[in-house]
Amino acid sequence: MAPRLTRVLDWLEARLGTRQQVTKFLYRRLPVGTTWWHTLGSAALFLIVLQTVTGFFLAFYYVPSPEHAYDSLVYIQKEIPFGTFVRGLHYWGASLVVSVVFLHLLRVFFMGAYKYPRELSWVVGVLLFLVVMLFGFTGYLLPWDQKAYWATVVGTHIAGTAPLVGDYLWRILQGGVEVGPRTLGRFYAAHVLILPAILYGLSLVHLSMVIYQGIGPTPRGPLSRIRNEDYARLYEESKGRGETFFEHLLRDGVVAFLLFLALVWMAATWRVPMEEVADPTDTQYVPRPEWYFYFLFELLWKFPGGWIPVATFYIPLGAVLVLLFLPFFDRTTGRSPLKRPVATGIATVALAIMAALTYQGASAPAPPREGVAARQEAKALPPELAEGQAVYDAQGCSACHVLMGAGSAAGPDLTRVGARRAVAWLKRFMKDPNAVKPGSEMPPYAGLPEEELNALARYLAALK
């Protein structure tokens, strides 16, 4: 080391006395089997710091009021040098943080690293995960464009379905009876002041725990099943043969760097979606949540009427509680996922459901706006069918049916309905769905004039 640097370090050491701790920290031994998967925590931390920094700078120009929020973002993107890039970093970085934090949670789960003596690291980690999701929810409103506004309306309504306290929760979240200036103020304060304080506080606890207990090793060989009383001996043994943290730090650095490159590429080349300024009076808008909330939004399909709180409250609350207290009811000795089939099985099923719902949400066709053709027609229709198509459009059938990839998937896809059903059946069904098919959700269209009904049935029957 250069003599000048040594002198500086000596000067600092005389005043801080931290050299020994730093050395101990950097050169502490890690257990055998510290892999690339073990970089996800530090990758999450790196991305969070990056979000913090880009967030600081966005705050210079962003104005948290309904009159100015949207324009201030347009200003950032149009007028401020690198504005689009900086906002892109923050916007795409948010999705990366959610993804990496979730992968980190999965890594820890499947390696059984939430078990003795790291139960509390897991609990704090789950809290951090929730804080990250809250960051996503609160940050989503700040641009004050249509999707921001309506996603928040849906979000606060979902909170409002909570039993007993729902109405209060709904109002307190919004700061009143509607999503308005106070909502934006609250979400802003939460997003840039309160949540960061909680996030960094909990991160500090989380990190000091991993430093104190050491990282959870890959559950292989003698570490795939550990009784608590053997833990200290086995872990020390493994550490005796492992590498130092400083060596592992290179893996952390490489992963952080690759994520950084990916993020820079996204921010530089992908457009940040920005819609029209929020309009609370628009009744044509189709609300959609951010992709990491799709599973919840899609889950709502499955629980109609009085069952709504199951999807909006009991399942999410249950899932959070199960996650939080996982280490306290899964006290088996198995750490390898193969040595604890029940936990692994449940988690795999839950993940598959979440993935399926997310896919469903991502691929769901949106109902068309009024006055916009419901579908792209491949060829012009003969007049007798065009008439039926006009009825289909006028009656708002696409509000519940998908036709050639357009519409909402509440009811069956009608793209090839003619291959299944004939004119007479369709007519009878539309007049009184429940009589033809008991339990049908479709409202009857008995009030439709006979000729329109005929035209509609002919049109549908021709769809093959």
Partner: protein
């Protein structure tokens, strides 16, 4: 294992006293700062009287038995924001001076419902909720009919008040924002 920390030599009475005194100081600070902050945060959200009436428009604007979307104007001027945003609602003129004023939000999770004149129904774009002209649920997941505004007519002008909920029989079930 770290050695367990032991309490150093200290008079037990003094120790109790210091504990109690620190606890009392902390409690007073927490209470004096906590109560105002809780009110500061929650009370504006729970205020009932705000924006009591919205001006919907002259009664003559509403054709009998038709549903019309209106952007109503809040009457209460506030310090901030200077411009009170308008509030969208659907008005159905029931005839003989009776009106029904619907909240535009689906009772499922709040998506904006669209009135389709030809179909004579309200459609929600999110999860397939369908309501009839009276706001009854025809299909989909909504748990109750469309919420309604209370209203009054003064000097030929229609005003909308607070929003209330209905049960399946279209009977008053309680103030939505109470």
């Amino acid at each position: 294992m770290a050695p367990s920390a032991s309490v150093p030599d200290m008079n037990p009475g003094r120790r109790r006293f210091v504990k109690a005194a620190l606890g009392a100081i902390a409690a007073v600070i927490a209470g004096v700062i906590g109560v105002p902050l809780a009110g500061f945060f929650a009370l504006p959200a729970l205020k009932r009287s705000e924006r009591r009436w919205l001006e919907v428009g002259p009664v003559a604007d509403f054709v009998e038995a038709e549903i019309k979307k209106v952007l109503a104007k809040p009457l209460v001027a506030q310090v901030w924001p200077y411009e009170t945003p308008r509030v969208a609602l659907y008005v159905l003129n029931q005839g003989s001076g009776k009106f029904t004023l619907y909240d535009i939000h689906c009772t499922h999770v709040g998506c904006p419902v669209r009135w389709n004149v030809q179909a004579g129904r309200f459609f929600s774009p999110c999860h397939g909720g369908v309501f009839d002209k009276d706001g009854r649920v025809l299909a989909g997941p909504p748990p109750r009919p469309l919420d309604r505004y209370e209203y009054k007519v003064e000097k030929g002008v229609l005003y909308a008040g607070r929003v209330h909920r209905l049960n399946a029989k279209l009977e008053f079930e309680g103030w939505h924002h109470a």
